[in-house]
Amino acid sequence: MDDADHNGLSVDKVSMVFTLPGGGSVHALNNVSLDLASGELMSVLGPSGCGKTTLLNIIAGFLAPTEGGVFLNGHQVTGPAAERGMVFQQGALFEWLDVRKNISFGPRMMGKSKKEWGPKVDHLLDIVGLGDFGDKPVYQLSGGMQQRVALARCLANDPDVILMDEPLGALDALTREKMQGLVLKLWKETGKTIVLITHSVEEALFLGERLIVMAPRPGRIHREYRLPFAEQGLTISPREIKASADFVEKREEILSMIWEMEEEIMGRASA
């Protein structure tokens, strides 16, 4: 593969083996390759333990793969950097800072003045619907509001790629649907490349322009889809899309695919 002139994110034949302290090893990823054009949104599904978080941590630069490499706009990823922003499931906000200070964290670390980040942060606060909460400590916000702060904090830094590991996983169903709409809107407005891990098949289908389903032991890409729903979601109401025949069919197909994998795991475990 010619990485030098590739514009976007590519994961090149990545394998990951964890060596366990008591001897033995876990083959978490085996020969995973992906190419994401700039501005694409890809969701990642798969049974628990199939290596989704491991893959995301490798892309983020928190883990070095045993084999292969990750490239962004042609250069190799060797560690975390501001070009790749992260939205965690929960608990990654800085509880000693208020909402505005959390959101402006990235720009402040880069030594930007308040003049530079102030208007941008105010704008982001409005976009995520927290205009009145800038001066509140983050621990006074609800779970959904906290995740909106996490999104805004990531966006304030203007990364090329946004990596999300179950960003909506801790939210109730209704808040979750609303947040999906927000993610979709932000994705379209900002044109960011996004990798989104989720356990919800519906969410993966609705948000992902592309979707990969991973299989476990060793973790690998099982199926890939290109989906029309994210595009439709900008004009048609989410409820309507999620009820459409095409959507329902895909959902059932993927659900039974993941079910089969889970059953196989259980079978192997009890054998």
Binding site: G79, P80, F105
Partner: protein, 303 residues
Amino acid sequence: MTDAPNDNGSETKLVAAPQEQPSALMMWLGLADNSFTRQKTVKFGDPTAVNSGRLYSFITVIFLLLLWWVTTSQGWVKPIYWPSFEAVGNRLTKLYEQGFRNVALWEHVYISVYRVLTGVFFGAIVGIPLGFAMGLSSVARGLFDPIVEFMRPIPPLALIPLIILWLGIDETAKITLLFLAALFIMIIAARSGVSGVKISKVHAAYSLGASKFQVLKNVILPNALPEIFTGIRTAMGVCWGTVVAAELVAAEKGVGSMIMIAKNFLQTDTVVIGIIIIGIIGYAIEMLMRLLERWLIPWRGKG
């Protein structure tokens, strides 16, 4: 609550069954539970269902004072073992007016508190960076771990003889003892504060472009502050106990020395006053630290 006429024309009252609110006094005395606790059916084993029981505290205090008054006024205990109310009152006035052994009462208290604050201050100044180093670097952890783990279970009082041999009984010796008492508490507190950081916070900061130093300053340090503060509070308590004991052994000034010297003159009333002062100051330090903590670290436990 509003009354709305329903379809039948009759009125339905949307009013909950009336709940009699106990008076504020009853609640303060612990004779009535707050309305939330009163709704609970499971109370035994629910720690929040145990109220202050303040009335009973008053009973205890009054009983103890009565016991004091009766036993001394009836001459059941000799004044040398336990003084009467009047003796203590008179002594307190005298101490207040003339001081103890040419040193004002407040100065005895001041010097003890000063020693504690100085010891804790230096303990924190040295201990916090050491604890941070131990939490952040294997080399530092390896280097200091044997010392810290060895010193941790040794009560500071057991160091007094060595310190007297090395440094004598002057002010430096006392401050050194308190410094050591605070030091290991502060090292351990800072170390566990650093180790307790959630990795996702550190990762988030690096992903937002922070440098190592920025992560240290903007994530690890604030994240460790609650633990550090707990360390300071513990160190204050331990040092207060240690200073009194150290003053019992060798000192001319300080509350501890005051009660020790008073004992030699069989001034039991002064001894009792000293003990009460020690209790009150220890309690005040604890309360003050809790107040400071709520004010300085409002995010404690909210991560």
